[in-house]
Symmetry: C2
Subunit: 226 residues, 2 copies
DNA sequence: GTGTAGTGGATAGTTATACTATCCACTAAC
DNA sequence: GTTAGTGGATAGTATAACTATCCACTACAC
C-alpha cells in the first residue's frame, strides 16, 4: 500500500502521516526503493489508535509516543503499560516550579499542594491501593483536592471515598473484561483505549447527569438573590 | 491594592494579570489616575478561580471567559450556568469537518459518529434525562462510544448503564451540597469548581483504581505471549 | 523640588504544539 | 518518454498562552 492509499483508508492527510513518521508515532513502511515504501493494515490500525488517543483522549503527540513505545516494547508487562497510559493521561505536571525566587509568589501559597499531597498519600495507604509512589494521578488528585478545599467543598480526602468505591468496582470490571489469552498488541490496544475512552465517557456522562440534577433542583427558578 | 500586590497575593505574574485584563477574564480595577488603579479582594478571589479552572480543569482562556460571563450575568440562572460550565469542559468540538471535499477522507468513515450519536440520544431518552439537545457532552459521549466500538468494547450505549447510575447518584449529592441560600456568586463559583474539580478527581481516582486492579490481575507476570 | 520605583496601557516578541506546504530527485506505469 | 505520484527533507503556518519592552506619568522619599 502506498502512502496515498494509507491516507485514504485512515482519513489522515498524507502530510500528517509523514509528520507522524518523523515523530516516530508510526513505524516506517518497508522501503522498496528510494521513493517507494509499502504500508500495510498494521499501519492503518496504528493510525486509528493514534487518532483515537489524540481526539478522544486529548493526548499530546509526545504522550502518544510514550504510550506507543510501551505498547511496542514486548518486555513491558501489561500492568506496566497501564501505568504508562495512565501517566500519559495526566496533564503533564502543570506545576514545574523551577525554584526561581524571581516568581511573583511571595509569602503566599503555604504549599497547599504538599498538604493535600500528604493527605492523598495517607488516604491511598488507608485504602491499601497498590499504586506506584510516583504515579502522576497522585499529584493530580492532590491538586484537585486543594482546589476543592479552597472553594468550600470540605477538607479531607474522605470526600473521595464514594468515588473511590465505585471507581474500584468499575476498574475491576474493565480490567476483567480484558482477555489475557488474546495477542499482546490487541490486548494492549484495548487496555489503552479503554483507559482513555472510559475516562472521557464518565466525564461526559457526569456532566449530563449534573445538568439533569441541576434542572431538578434549580430549573425554572430564574436566579437566586444577588 | 496595586497590581504588584495583587500579583503577590495571587501568585500570578503582573504581565499575566495584564493579559487577563485585556482578555476580559478579570474586571478592570477602579481607575484613580491614568496610571493608578485599585484592585480588591474580589480580584484576588477571581484570579484564584481563573487559575483553578485553567490548572485543574484544563480550560482554555476562551472557555474561562465564557464561564465567567455566565457567573457574572445575574440574569443567568444557576441551572443555565451549570450548562455553560459543562460545555466549557467539553473539548470544543474536535470534529469541525468544514464539508470540504478536499480532505483525504474518501469513501471511508461511514459516519460512525452519527450512528453513535443516534445511539447516545436514544439512550438518554430511555433514561429520561433532561439535557439540552445541543449539550456538548452528547457529542463527546458519542465520540467515545464510537472509539470503544472500534476497539472491541461492545457496541451499544448500554455499556454506559453502570456508569450512568453512579454518575446520577453522585451528581445528586454534588448538586444537593450546594446551598441555594448563599449569595449567588459564591454559589456559582462553588458549582463551577465542583463541576471541573470532581471530574478531574474522578479521572485521577479511576486511573489509580485501574492501576491497582491491573496489578491484581496482571502484576508480577512479565509479559503475555507475543 | 527632584529623583526614582512603580503604574497602567499598548504593542511586540516568545515558546510550544500540531500540523501543512513546498521542494526535489526519482521511478513505476501508462 | 512523459507524468502522476513517492519518500524524505525542510520551511512555513496557526493558535494559544503568555512574557517583555516601551512609554508617559505619578506618588512618595528625600
Amino acid at each position: 500500500m502506498r502512502i496515498s492509499e494509507l491516507s485514504e483508508r485512515s482519513g489522515v492527510a498524507v502530510a500528517t502521516i509523514k509528520y507522524y513518521l518523523r515523530e516516530g508515532l508510526l513505524h516506517p513502511g518497508l522501503t522498496l526503493a528510494p521513493n517507494r515504501a509499502d504500508y500495510d493494515d498494521e499501519h492503518v490500525r496504528r493510525l486509528r489508535l493514534i487518532r483515537a488517543l489524540i481526539e478522544v483522549g486529548g493526548l499530546s503527540i509526545a504522550s502518544v509516543v510514550q504510550t506507543l513505545a510501551a505498547v511496542d516494547d514486548a518486555s513491558v508487562s501489561i500492568h506496566d503499560a497501564f501505568g504508562v497510559a495512565q501517566d500519559a493521561l495526566s496533564p503533564a505536571t502543570p506545576t514545574p516550579a523551577p525554584e526561581l525566587g524571581s516568581t511573583p509568589t511571595g509569602s503566599n501559597s503555604p504549599t497547599p499542594c504538599t498538604d493535600a499531597q500528604l493527605e492523598v498519600d495517607r488516604w491511598l495507604r488507608r485504602r491499601r491501593w497498590k499504586v506506584r509512589p510516583d504515579a502522576a494521578a497522585r499529584t493530580e488528585l492532590a491538586e484537585t483536592l486543594a482546589a476543592l478545599q479552597q472553594f468550600g467543598w470540605g477538607h479531607s480526602a474522605s470526600l473521595f471515598d464514594g468515588l473511590a468505591d465505585y471507581a474500584l468496582e468499575q476498574a475491576g470490571l474493565e480490567v476483567g473484561y480484558l482477555d489475557p489469552q488474546q495477542d499482546r498488541s490487541s490486548l494492549m490496544e484495548q487496555a489503552i483505549i479503554g483507559t482513555v475512552a472510559f475516562e472521557q465517557a464518565y466525564g461526559a456522562i457526569r456532566r449530563l447527569a449534573l445538568e439533569h440534577q441541576s434542572y431538578q433542583r434549580f430549573g425554572r427558578r430564574r436566579s437566586v438573590s444577588a
